[in-house]
Symmetry: C2
Subunit: 282 residues, 2 copies
């Protein structure tokens, strides 16, 4: 596995691969890799000749009071994990080169970023789409793989790809969960053992919603209320619980067809997100 | 010369060229080609194997009360001119395909777009950078050529290229002028013969400024006042006259080093722009 730090080096490597007819897959990550990331890397491995995993804790997608400074890091461990999962090139740029002085160009997906996480984290998605656009231009992938865990992010990036005519095929990989259902996230590291036990409630509340719908509940507000009650009983603080259309993120009127149940919950100081896609026949 | 309308066709052509080792140059235009455009096309011709000229009157760079609907068009003439100047592929997409329903992703260069034309035309540069980003992704050029006539636009696009790590080399071609100094522009077409005679005043006022500086004038406000007086005497209505640093577009304090004198003037209803770069030894 090659480890590349310089933007120019990565770009000329990408040219080299393309000029010799090789296809490139990219898995962009913020590092501190877990089984969720590794499932993306393995998926990407089967989609192209050369697999690039990037590790970059992107400062511009963090708000002023968020966890940029304490975001977990373990590059030595990441190197081993990325390589074992099949990475050919680990691209680890430094922030100073990604955002030089006078940097002032941003990519914005306007409507899909308004609700859900966009409400609590106003410049988050602008940071995400800007860095992903840059990574696409540097790594020049034919294929990129993102996780369904960040459902809104995946939709926003797909929209950016289509709207700006990026020639990149995008794959979305399913959520990987712990035994109790907790979705894997680098931020789970912040949880104390006691908080970790309570954090299972995000997934349990999603399962509760699914169960209620299966049993005939038609009222979105009743479902959201029950989810909130369960979460609060575990001392979780709800940021949002929404039931939306999976392609527009607009609140559903009726519980029919494809729906996305998405939530963000604080367990202690740690903000966790999760979601569930349902296909309802009703 | 090939004429291509479909985005997908243009993209696969671009892939074909790149896969056979050919380099691509792009000259983006809004059509109604004149000698200014043709000088860009000829410049691009010498920079790559395949030369793509695009013609697209980009609706999102026009304000609500601007001249989108009456913007001059003559595709038959453009086809002949583009071909004669050396174009290999004329890319003429349709607005419905460039901006499908639900289009919502925009590229923004934040600081450089605030002054000069950005003040009078608040969403203009967002429209420009967004469409140029799209054209870069569709045509996949190694090289792109823009005109110095739109000095701020050229600087904004250069900033976008650098900030978003586009792998595109950019060339800026000099302004082409009529005998009386009027910079070529498709919008000159709007002028009545009488307005056309008066329109020479934009360039004349730039020459006046150059002359005043050469003769030792040190006060920017005095120079701007004299320019304005000359323009007003020709019934021109000044939108702005600015003397700025050519790389930041910030107003100059002292008349020394490189400076850009830029102006926008209404002759009748028609808004014309022009500029002059000076290198001062003082």
């Amino acid at each position: 596995m090659l480890i590349v730090n310089a933007v120019e080096k990565m770009r000329s490597l990408a040219d080299q691969y393309r000029n010799t007819g090789k296809t490139i897959a990219l898995v962009p990550t913020m590092g501190f890799l877990h089984e969720g990331h590794l499932s993306l890397i393995r998926r990407a491995r089967s989609e192209a000749d050369v697999l690039v995993t990037s590790i970059f804790v992107n400062p511009i997608q963090f708000g002023p009071n968020e966890d940029l400074d304490k975001y977990p890091k373990d590059l030595q461990r990441d190197i081993i994990l990325a390589q074992d999962a099949g990475t050919d090139v680990l691209f680890v740029p430094v922030a100073k080169e990604v955002y030089p002085e006078n940097f002032q160009t941003f990519v914005n997906v306007k409507e899909l970023t308004r609700g859900l996480c966009g409400k609590t984290r106003p410049n988050h998605f602008e940071g995400v789409t800007t860095v992903v656009a840059k990574l696409f231009h540097i790594v020049k992938p034919h294929v990129a793989v993102f996780g369904q865990k960040d459902a809104q992010q995946a939709l926003v990036i797909k929209r950016m790809i289509d709207d700006l005519c990026f020639d990149v095929r995008m794959f979305i990989s399913p959520i990987v969960r712990e035994d109790d259902g907790l979705a894997l996230s680098s931020r789970n590291k912040y949880l104390t053992p006691e908080q970790r036990r309570r954090a299972g409630i995000l997934y349990k509340s999603l399962c509760l919603a699914r169960e209620m719908i299966k049993n005939g509940e038609k009222d979105v507000s009743v479902i959201k209320k029950c989810m909130k009650k369960e979460i609060t009983a575990q001392q979780g603080k709800v940021d949002y619980i929404e039931i939306v259309l999976p392609d527009t993120l607009q609140p559903v009127g009726e519980l029919t067809g494809n729906i996305l149940i998405a939530l963000a919950v604080y367990i202690g100081e740690t903000r966790l997100i999760d979601n569930m896609l349902l296909h309802l026949s009703g």
